[in-house]
Symmetry: C2
Subunit: 343 residues, 2 copies
């Protein structure tokens, strides 16, 4: 039901997904009248009488809308009816409801949001946290590193992905107190075989592809993600403007079009859609609210791969192994934990 | 002496600068043998026997190299011989020496590094802090806002520039505790006429040009800057790769070349070179270490404009006016304060 476009985008994406995965089944959760037009032998409608709005406060989503499509979908995961839930809706509400219904895994204080960004090495860099947690401690950053490693292992079938700690310089002495302590914890985890820790990385390393996973506080990750989107938009806008400036440049645009199209495809954020909510006792994926059919299908693919490759068990195993390093990081509630992250 | 290229870049830049500003004079500070080839009626060599290396630890620069070109140059500012100092050298050393020799202005706890980034509105957004301070308090962010306003007023002769607080959402309730408190302080400053506070902005607003000045913790600013540079490099690299892929695309590149060149010019980071070290009792500007002649000349221009438009007095006046809001933010030393910022 969610996202900027609702079933107009999510239903065609589900059909494409089902066509591409003959062994997959989908539970379509939402208002029956909005979903009844969709028929497929491997799709079943699960009715929900309410919808969380994109601008609903978390409290409203959590306490007032107890029969929302979002909540009913996550309940399917909790009840074992679904292997994973995917939503394009309100990020803050999704995280709050998922956390409330599913609870966190043993050894995890706070769930994190992990997404992928394209890099110059031709692959994708997984970055977490993207805004679920502000004011992270060093222990939280270690938990993110362990969870991120499990995610990349599961989605890319890559055994020992490299982890970088986002900092303002490569040297060990750089950064604030939390980051320095996190560096020590990550080095310990590397020594005990729990992580493949590369060391400190800087903002540009996300896009260089220096490491498979970049770990950061949610505030920092959110700003970095949005700043990056801002630069990309500015460059694309300037390209369009320059090519549209006169007759000659318009002709140049026609000639250059296939090249620019290939470039856009390579940079296409839609291919990387589908952020994982990690650290919960169940799989939940968040699609960008503005996702189109292709992008939403990517989020479905990601959830499917995570379920098929036992992401949850991988996270559990890795966390259990790293348990001696993972002393509880905090007991107090997280201020701003419910802040929407990727909209 | 500093930067990746030293006098090979700085001397030609100085000549261009002098040619473009008939009323300007330059003190060239450094090893006499490196500077003696440069003669100009408005240039004077001031000898220094040492040079701070790009990788010298701050302690070495500060305590061992007491006759470094960097230190002698800043001493010229302190002694009133120079209106401003410009360096392309080691950022951490420059900040530490400037702070040690010049001291901070009354009401300022920590100097900040302010730079400009191009935006889609066709102008530049001034962002501070860029890495001089990690672990900033709300009071520090208010000081940055006041100093940034003075800088933009002085450099662009714009009376009442708008200030945005970098956050993970526009709403007042977003962010961590420091950011929420900073938002309150900035609103108070707006009410008392000390600031033109726009409200919270997000990472992409830096490049949209939503506000004239974006205020943030140095850790966050540094990551955002470097992530942005990373995206821009990735896109430029991909453009080159796509256009170089085959004969047809190489032809397309020739046709598209003037358009791409215009784009690169618009996005050219060199045009925005010259970061201000704000909050000191003297003007100091930092050029990017990799600056070429054009870029280094921009840094000289910026220092010249700041001196001519009395940046120091403007900062003093604004800080004094905002004094009731600017209770000392901290007394303890800043961990990581000497971390190089823009290299």
């Amino acid at each position: 039901m969610g996202g900027d476009h609702g079933p107009r985008v999510t239903l065609p994406a589900c059909r494409q997904f089902l066509d591409n995965h003959p062994d997959a089944r989908i539970l379509l959760v939402g208002l029956p009248q909005a979903l009844e037009g969709f028929t497929h032998e491997r799709a079943t409608v699960v009715a929900a009488s309410e919808v969380v709005a994109m601008d609903d406060p978390v409290e409203v989503a959590l306490r007032k809308k107890k029969d929302s499509s979002m909540r009913v979908a996550i309940q399917q995961v909790k009840d074992g009816q679904a292997a994973a839930a995917v939503s394009a809706g309100n990020t803050g509400a999704l995280m709050a409801i998922a956390r409330y219904l599913l609870k966190t895994l043993d050894g995890i204080d706070r769930p994190a949001i992990a997404t992928q960004m394209p890099n110059a090495a031709g692959g994708a860099t997984t970055v977490l946290d993207l805004g679920a947690n502000v004011d992270c401690s060093a222990e939280h950053l270690l938990q993110f590193a362990v969870m991120g490693s499990a995610l990349v292992s599961a989605l890319r079938e890559q055994g020992d992905p490299t982890v970088g700690l986002l900092n303002i310089g490569e040297e060990v002495i750089k950064g604030n107190e939390v980051i320095k302590k996190a560096g020590e914890l990550l080095r310990s985890a590397a020594n005990s075989g729990d992580l493949n820790f590369y060391g400190n990385v800087e903002g540009n390393d996300i896009f260089k592809g220096t490491v498979d996973i970049v770990v950061c506080d949610g505030f920092v990750g959110n700003v970095a993600l949005k700043a990056s989107e801002g630069v990309a938009s500015m460059i694309v806008g300037a390209l369009k403007q320059e090519f549209g400036r006169g007759i000659f440049t318009k002709m140049a645009a026609i000639v250059a079009y296939p090249v620019l199209k290939a470039l856009m495809k390579k940079m296409d954020y839609r291919r990387y859609n589908g952020a994982a909510l990690l650290g919960l006792r169940g799989l939940v994926f968040k699609s960008h609210g503005s996702a189109d059919v292709l992008a939403f299908e990517q989020a479905l693919n990601r959830a499917y791969d995570a379920a098929r490759n036992n992401l949850l068990d991988r996270v559990r195993t890795r966390i259990a192994h790293a348990a001696p390093l993972l002393a509880p990081a905090d007991a107090q509630p997280t201020p701003g934990a419910a802040a929407p992250a990727i909209e």
